[in-house]
Amino acid sequence: MTVYLLKRLTIAIATLVLASIVVFAVLEILPGDPARLMLGMNASADQVELLRNQMGLNAPLPWRYLHWAGGLLSLDFGRSYTYSVPVIDLVRERLAVSLPLALIALALSTIIAIPVGLFSASRRGRAGDTVAMGAAQLGVAVPNFWFALMLIYVFAVWLRLVPAGGFPGWGAGLWPALKSLLLPAVALALPQAAILARVTRSALIEVLNEDYIRTARAKGLPYRAVLWRHALRNAMIPVLTILGLQFAFLLAGTIIIENVFYLPGLGRLVFQAITQRDLIVVESVVMLLVAAVIAVNLLVDLSYAVVDPRLRSRQ
């Protein structure tokens, strides 16, 4: 077990370091001088050179990488070229929108998908299963931003229940803020729920064929108890894997949805930063997201051990 954990941890850290080198290298070879970009086209070569020195752009490459990576570790991401504020402040402000959005969407998707998967698996091949899986098949095919447009049309334009876009900020009160995250969360959650429901169903069907399920039924446990306590728990590994992938997707996948709803989240920040060539913001946010993906995957690996005691004894 400890060996397994150490191996996973080493791989995670190595991946993170490699990813940081890739991000740094890619943004390094990009055309466009940040100093020239900040000063505008009319600046003289001397002015640009002075700013380049101030920004540390003339230092040798390895040194600049180490300086940048060290800064990341101490959460000092530098200053945004376009906003002229520390990147960490921007990130904190935007994360206050994106993180709740991703969490609500993930919760919604799980709440919908697990019962649907259980329902389908326990009625395998019958009408209920066919209908549920047909709906899931459809859900997988729907692009979330189109679904978002349809939701806006029905709930914002037609029924006027929720705002069509924008975010009042958490300062405006919990309910108005939550209300403006509701449609985006649903739009994000439904296609994800469709995938998760399919995975839950097929994992459950596999488990339901196992001997220990028959044993549990034979000793007189009611079907429901077997389904929830024995089958679901054993089907959790593929489900957790997909959940981990989905959380990572949701953090970055909000880029398009945040654009649809004009939400000031991390996705919109990085999208605008890319189009404005605000490289410090881009590299910081990308590194944060990569770190989040790696951390989530590591957590998923660890949770296997929690769910499946057999993995604990094995190394």
């Binding site: 459809l138 931003f145 189109w146 097929s202 654009n259 993906v293």
Partner: protein, 289 residues
Amino acid sequence: MTLHIEIPEETFGSILAKAFRNTAFVAGFVITLLILAMAIISYVWTPYDVTKLVISDKTQAPSLAHWFGTDHFGRDILSMVMVGARNSIAVALVAVGIGMGVGVPLGAFAAARGSLVDEALMRLNDLVFAFPALLSAIMITAIFGPGAVNAIIAIGIFNIPVFARVARAGALAIWPREFILAARAAGKSSTQISIEHVLPNIATLLLVQGTIQFALGILAEAGLSYLGLGAQPPMPSWGRMLFDAQTRMVVAPWMAIFPGMAIVVTVLGLNLLGDGIADILDPKSRRQR
């Protein structure tokens, strides 16, 4: 003691018969064929010219003259959906080609060599998977300029590790088999064995994964062109049409409804086709996502 089990020979005819009994396959096949036909027909005929702007006809609701209505420039939505299909299919198909062309040899090589080469390639895979695909695709297209070609590259790059993983997993299951041992004894090199014996045996897996990635490619292309990073106007694309529709939802909801339905139907068809193929050729196979 050895156990002999008669396995009925699978002929092309028996597979075909099985295919026609599989609802998912038939539905997926018909839908995919219709979308392909629509894209091909658009080269020779569309109800209206998609490059001609008829401002007097702008934002008309669906009617007999314009089945799907018209957009804010008076262009026929049905014609644009037809032409847009070309773009979606071309981008997703070439992206799958890139993924297969690079990923499959990599995965097969990793499985053939094993140990260090395998470990290194798989860690490289982990690295690519650590980058959120959509975010990286956006970065690539934003940095190298928007357009269909860069969209293909951006989507294609993220298909590579997917196919590498599938090919490796498939090949690893084939390598311990007896006929591989026989080929080895016959003096064939591992490259020869990979091409002549391993690849034909994992073709089904790759075909199924190919339809999945095709479908995902259609969705990714739509997302990129919605953000303005895909095919550029005046070339119609489904994602771009949805972007144009967004601010006009109140006056012309059909501008959003029909291109979106086109995406849903295409992706649904491809997914059903993939499910069907997996079912027919190997009842036990499960789809990986």
